[in-house]
C-alpha cells in the first residue's frame, strides 16, 4: 500500500471513508428530505410574499449590522486574548466563548435582564430616551451576542498561527504599536478575520432563540427569517419548507465563502519562508 507522494503523510484508512460517508449522509439526508417536500408550483409565490420578503430583508440587514458590531468588538478582544498578557486572561477567554455553548434562549433571558425595560442598563437607557425592547436594535444585540465568539475564536487562532515575529521586526524598525497593528498584524490575519466575519454573519442569520426571547416578533421590525419560518409552520407547512430552503441556500453560499478563505490562511504557515507574501496574497484574494 503506497501513499500518494504529496510531501507528507496523507493516508486515511479506507474504513474511515465508510464512517465519513455515514457522517456526510447524516447531514445531507435531512436537507434532501426537506428539498423533496418543497411544493415547487407554489415556491415562487410562497417566498415572494410580503411577509417572506420583509423577513429575508430584515434578516440580511440585521445580520450585516451585527457582523459589523462583531468586528468592532471582537477584533480588540481577539488581539487582547492572543497578544496581551494580564491577570484573568483565561477567565476572560472562557467567558467570551460562553455564548457558543449556551442555549440561545438563555442568552435571550440574559439580554432581557440587561437591556430590557426592567434590566440592569435598561432603566438608564430609557432615561436617555433609548428603548431597545421590541426594536430592530434588540435583534442586532441578540445576534451579536451569539455570533461574537465565532469571530473571536477565528481571529485569535489566526493571530496565534501567524506568530509575532514580523511585528517584532516592525517594532525594531521604529514602528509604533498602532502602526504595527495597522500595517503588519491586521494584513497578516486578514483571511482569518474574513472567515470569522462570514461565520458571524451565518450565525446571526440563523439566530432564533435569543431573538424570540428578547426582541419579540413583529413583521418588518423584529420577525427575522427563522422566526417567520417558525410562525408559518403553525398553519402553512409549504411556506415554512419553502422559506427554510431559502435560508439553507443563503447559508450554503455563506459557508462556501467562509471555506475559501481559511484554506488560504492555513496554507500560509506551511511555506514559512514566504509567509508574509502568501498571507498578503490571500488577504488580497479575500478583498
Amino acid at each position: 500500500m503506497k501513499q500518494a507522494m504529496n510531501g507528507g503523510y496523507g493516508g486515511v484508512p479506507r474504513w474511515i471513508y465508510v464512517l465519513a460517508a455515514a457522517g456526510g449522509l447524516f447531514v445531507v439526508l435531512p436537507l434532501a428530505a426537506m428539498v423533496a417536500k418543497v411544493n415547487w408550483s407554489q415556491f415562487i409565490p410562497l417566498i415572494t410574499s410580503e411577509a417572506s420578503l420583509q423577513a429575508l430583508g430584515l434578516s440580511l440587514r440585521t445580520s450585516a449590522a451585527s457582523t459589523v458590531l462583531c468586528i468592532v468588538l471582537g477584533v480588540p478582544l481577539a488581539l487582547v486574548l492572543a497578544r496581551g498578557s494580564f491577570p484573568g486572561q483565561r477567565v476572560l477567554r472562557s467567558l467570551v466563548l460562553l455564548p457558543l455553548v449556551l442555549p440561545p434562549v438563555v442568552g435571550g433571558i440574559a439580554l432581557l435582564y440587561t437591556f430590557g425595560r426592567q434590566g440592569l442598563l435598561g432603566r438608564t437607557l430609557e432615561v436617555a430616551g433609548l428603548q431597545i425592547a421590541f426594536s430592530t436594535t434588540a435583534v442586532i444585540l441578540a445576534q451579536t451576542f451569539v455570533a461574537l465568539p465565532f469571530l473571536v475564536v477565528s481571529l485569535e487562532g489566526a493571530l496565534r498561527t501567524a506568530g509575532n515575529r514580523y511585528e517584532a521586526v516592525a517594532a525594531t524598525l521604529g514602528a509604533g504599536p498602532t502602526t504595527v497593528l495597522r500595517r503588519v498584524t491586521l494584513p497578516l490575519v486578514l483571511p482569518g478575520l474574513a472567515s470569522g466575519a462570514v461565520l458571524s454573519f451565518a450565525r446571526s442569520l440563523g439566530e432564533f432563540g435569543a431573538t424570540l426571547t428578547f426582541a419579540g416578533s413583529l413583521q418588518g421590525v423584529t420577525r427575522t427569517l427563522p422566526l417567520e419560518i417558525y410562525l408559518q409552520r403553525e398553519t402553512d407547512a409549504d411556506a415554512a419548507v419553502a422559506l427554510s430552503l431559502v435560508l439553507v441556500a443563503v447559508a450554503v453560499a455563506v459557508v462556501a465563502l467562509a471555506y475559501r478563505s481559511p484554506r488560504a490562511a492555513e496554507r500560509a504557515p506551511a511555506h514559512s519562508g514566504e509567509r508574509t507574501t502568501t498571507a498578503r496574497a490571500a488577504g488580497g484574494a479575500v478583498r
Partner: protein, 270 residues
C-alpha cells in the same frame, strides 16, 4: 501489520453488527410498551401505560389530573407530553405514539378526525377565554380593552396563525378597536413572558394563564372576550394500544373530578 489491520476491521465489523443488533429493539415502539395492553382487573381498575398529548395551556391541570388518576388506579401510568396543539397534531400525523390527544382548539382535532386518526369522536371538555394581563404595578393604567389602543401602550399579542392570536383578532373586531402591538408572538407563553418580565405594558392571554401566573401578573377581564371562546376537545388516538385506559382517563377529565380541577384553574365548562 496486516494481521493487526484485520483485527481492527473485525473489531469495527463487530461494533457495527452490535449497533445493528441494537437498532430494531430501540426503534420498535411495541418493545417498550408490552404492558399497555391490559384489561381491567376484578376491582374495575384499569392498568398499563398511556401517553397523553395535551395542549401547552393544559400543563398545570393535566399534570394534576394525571397524578390524581394514578392515585386512584395504582396500576396505571400516564405519560404527558405538552406542546402547541398544532405541533402535537402534526406529531400524531407523523406517527408519534400518543393514546390521548387534548387540543386547545377544535381545528387541530378536526384535522386528525378528517384523516381518520381518531378512535370514535372527540368530546369537548373545557373552554377558555382571553383576558388582559398586565404587570402587577400596571404601569400603563390599563382598565379596559379600549385602553390597549392608546398610543404609547406596549401591547403584545399572539400572531394570527396561532389560536390565541385568532381569538385576539375576533375580540378586536367585536370591540371595534384596532391594536398596534409591539410584538406578535407565536405562543401564548411568550406573550405572558413579555408581561411578567415587565417588557410589555399589557398582553392578551387566556384567563387560565393569568391564574397560573399567580401574583406575577394582574388580570383584567373585558366583555368582548365572550366573542372568542376557545373550546378544548379530547379524544382517543386510533393507534392507541390501550384504548380502555385512554377511555378511562378521558372519562375522568370529562367527569366531575376533572371538571372541578379544570374550573379551579379558570377553565369554563364546555
Amino acid at each position: 501489520m496486516s494481521t493487526r489491520k484485520h483485527a481492527r476491521y473485525a473489531l469495527i465489523a463487530a461494533l457495527l453488527l452490535g449497533l445493528a443488533a441494537c437498532a430494531p429493539a430501540s426503534t420498535t415502539p411495541t418493545a417498550s410498551q408490552p404492558a399497555t395492553s391490559q384489561s381491567p382487573d376484578a376491582t374495575g381498575q384499569v392498568s398499563g401505560t398511556i401517553t397523553v398529548f395535551a395542549a401547552a395551556s393544559l400543563k398545570a391541570t393535566f399534570t394534576q389530573l394525571a397524578s390524581d388518576f394514578e392515585a386512584k388506579n395504582p396500576g396505571a401510568k400516564i405519560l404527558l407530553s405538552f406542546a402547541g396543539s398544532s405541533d402535537l397534531a402534526t406529531q400524531i400525523t407523523q406517527g408519534a405514539p400518543a393514546d390521548v390527544f387534548a387540543s386547545a382548539d377544535t381545528k387541530n382535532m378536526t384535522r386528525l378526525a378528517d384523516t381518520k386518526l381518531l378512535d370514535g369522536t372527540a368530546k369537548n371538555f373545557a373552554t377558555n377565554v382571553l383576558e388582559i394581563a398586565v404587570p402587577p404595578s400596571n404601569p400603563a393604567s390599563i382598565a379596559s380593552f379600549v385602553d390597549l389602543a392608546r398610543p404609547g401602550v406596549k401591547v403584545v399579542v399572539c400572531a394570527s396563525q396561532v389560536p390565541c392570536g385568532a381569538a385576539a383578532d375576533t375580540v378586536e373586531k367585536a370591540a371595534g378597536v384596532t391594536l398596534s402591538p409591539v410584538s406578535e408572538e407565536s405562543s401564548v407563553t411568550d406573550v405572558l413572558g413579555k408581561v411578567t418580565s415587565g417588557e410589555a405594558d399589557a398582553g392578551l392571554v387566556y384567563v387560565t394563564d393569568v391564574i397560573g401566573a399567580g401574583d406575577k401578573v394582574k388580570g383584567i377581564p373585558f366583555d368582548e372576550s365572550g366573542k372568542a371562546v376557545n373550546t378544548y376537545p379530547i379524544a382517543t388516538v386510533g393507534s392507541s394500544r390501550n384504548k380502555e385506559l385512554a377511555a378511562a382517563f378521558i372519562a375522568m377529565v370529562t367527569g366531575p373530578d376533572g371538571q372541578k380541577t379544570l374550573s379551579d384553574a379558570g377553565f369554563g365548562a364546555p
